[in-house]
Symmetry: D2
Subunit: 252 residues, 4 copies
């Protein structure tokens, strides 16, 4: 039988379809960047099919098999020389029609002000207890996987893949004492947005939609995880070192 890869990235002309023989249809290849991988997750969902991310361009955190490594990696995979790691997702419990019936994110949920509007206030509750009101351009709730993505760009910490935490990172917070907050992933988060425009932007990974301020968002850990193939020699640490150039240091 054939295993089909679903690595289709609608916004780019670097489109890849891939058909691949494997003893059983129990493997999916995402070929493209991390964005492609995230899109593929919206197709796999909770089917527990292990995914392998092959990267046609710059190496990603998710799509971390390079074209050069591909022959060896395929050989390793076919010969069962790999580990499968489980990545937690977060779930937007609130039903938002625009997000359809798959409201999970592997990286993050992000709240943002609209184009050209002023800052928004994001009242935040953990298990229905008031935490604080962020006055900012937005707020990111990221999984450990997402901690190396958008959250990192706005100053968030890196979470180890086996951390049972999420991180809440504000985007351009006005209050200078606000810091990223790491919370257990078994809490329920509630966000209420307030601003001049009356609407705000919400994103689950690369999908986004415009919401009214009345729409409160409830976020929890998803009830399933995504299985990702980690070929021999690939570890979280080696990826950190190569992707974030933790080994490299060119100042004197």
């Amino acid at each position: 039988f054939l295993t089909q890869t679903a690595g289709i990235h609608p916004k780019t002309d670097k489109l890849f379809h891939n058909h691949h023989d494997l003893p059983e249809s129990d493997l999916m290849f995402s070929i493209g960047g991390d964005g492609t991988f995230l899109d593929a997750v919206t197709m796999i969902r909770n089917k527990k099919i292990p995914m392998a991310g092959i990267n046609s361009g710059r190496l990603g955190f998710l799509a971390d098999i390079s074209m050069e490594e591909l022959p060896k990696a395929l050989d390793d995979i076919l010969n069962k020389r790999f580990r499968v790691k489980q990545l937690d997702l977060l779930k937007l419990v609130t039903e938002i029609p625009d997000f359809g019936d798959f409201r999970c994110a592997l990286n993050e949920l992000a709240i943002q002000k609209r184009d050209g509007s002023s800052m928004i206030t994001i009242h935040t509750y953990l298990n229905d207890e008031f935490l604080t009101s962020y006055w900012a351009d937005g707020l990111i709730v990221a999984t450990p996987t997402g901690s190396t993505a958008y959250s990192l760009s706005v100053g968030g910490p890196i979470l180890h893949p086996s951390s049972q935490d999420f991180v809440i990172t504000p985007i351009a917070p006005h209050n200078l004492t606000v810091r990223p907050l790491v919370v257990p992933n078994d809490v329920e988060l509630k966000l209420k947005v307030e601003g001049r425009g009356g609407t705000y932007l919400a994103s689950l990974d690369s999908r986004s939609c415009i919401l009214d301020e009345e729409t409160e968002l409830i976020i929890r850990k998803a009830g399933f995880s995504v299985s990702v193939i980690e070929p021999e020699g690939h570890t979280f640490y080696s990826t950190l070192r190569s992707k974030l150039m933790w080994g490299a240091d060119k100042r004197n």
Copy 2:
């Protein structure tokens, strides 16, 4: 004669008109927040009329006279007990119809990606020499006055009011080694934007418009400055201490 304040903020119900007797019509009051003050600047422009910012709500950096201080401040002002400080502006040299004929900013010029789109690349040149390409959500070019506004929220330094520099601060930069860059205000800056959507958002203080990627932006120091009244006892340092709570420290 009457001096009219033009401090009208269209988006808030805390609207104030103010008519005030003064020996000569050589003073303008902005009553509202810092946003109101910035709007008033678009009316005063290069007329060299000193402005005083009276704040109806939380104290601002620009509108730094509180309602409680108002009687004393008015008395001081009428009796010439004040200093006038000059604040530099930056000027968008590129003619953008949406910005009209006043293309200056007291705080900052900001470039941003559009709603829900992915990051943009901002190729940046100083005096026509290539500096770097920022891959980010946006980029801020701030004056010393603006260094305590948006630029500060995304990690920029504070510039002393008499600094002859601007600061270039990226918004959510993807490259983790990028840092705010302080440059002399006599350079000419050129920004070229590139992204998937083909358009981007440009703002001069609180005014913003959507531009095509073909539109390069040239930024220079404006040829005039704004005169702001600094009542007795008000200094940049005291404002820093009270506004940013530099004196306050509630950790142990």
Copy 3:
């Protein structure tokens, strides 16, 4: 009979001894700042006696009962109106004579370069797997409790008290891509230090000593936790808001 407080801070003249009647000797008061509280922990150790931190000066994260609240708090405590929260400690497994037989820290273990010497390299391993080599002034391994202390000052995130993670935060890292790393508290951390001077400084909370570079440090979660009394109305969130002024925002 009597419960004696052991909250004695040798370096300050704000010294308090406290003798207190309680039905059973099952409560300890630490009177002073957070430093006093940390010292008291070195006396209580794993005895599971609940501690209450009364603060004579500025409120602390640990010593969070103010003098004004004291009468009500005492009444609440005597009438059992309080919760007991458990705070995890970390343990320096390596036997270092200078630290005696109690090598645990409620806040953090910190490694630092010596006075006036140049940066040190800290080779870091998680469960014996190489993570990275930090080239920095030092490195902090903090518990959730310690995440609001030293680690926060050097840019670390805040960890929720019930997070099962530690955070590794470098001090003045030379490599600009290095970020705080949040790791599960069931890992074993190994640190090897290298530098020009041959020695480095290691601290467990407020106790510190000088070590040779040959001395590798092994760090794990301690096998016990400290019980801390949380009076009515005191929560982690309210402390965050009041201590870090998350509610306060004096910019406009």
Copy 4:
């Protein structure tokens, strides 16, 4: 005649002496890292001899000519194909015997707490006007040249070489609202240190000494600058891009 390089770095075994024929003794080579270059500055002082920094290891900001480039760079230099840039220094006006009669720094003056002691308070004045009191591990006053050194590691911005500013950057500040402050280099800075130990550490580039708290420090711009040779093709921008890897971005 001979031009002697003085690039002697006492703390490393990578010691280089260099004797070099040049038509006139009007050029000094520093061979080593940036530290060697800083040491050489203490020998050249205000003699206006242009310096060229040749780097035996990793490229530096100051020692920015690599061994591979050396033949071409030498040829360029001998044929006058280079620019000379002037780098400002700061001067510690206060007479401190340990620093001898050369109390200038090309990079920074740094104040630090002593080994294992608690934080210090640094009362800071600009032109005798009180700015604020930093409660921190230390404070850095950096020139534009020094803005890419220690100050950068603790979160300071980068200053363009022709900026007429200094930057004041706290080390591990306890107050979370404190930010780096960029001030005109024609101000006079005064620092008063207060702490439990009674002493603190002061450094001028790589030289440091221990001072009593009574010792106030006055800092100004030095009355001379250092002339540095910038070979063809070397610019501040290209150095930023290569040293800080501003071009490199390995996240997806």
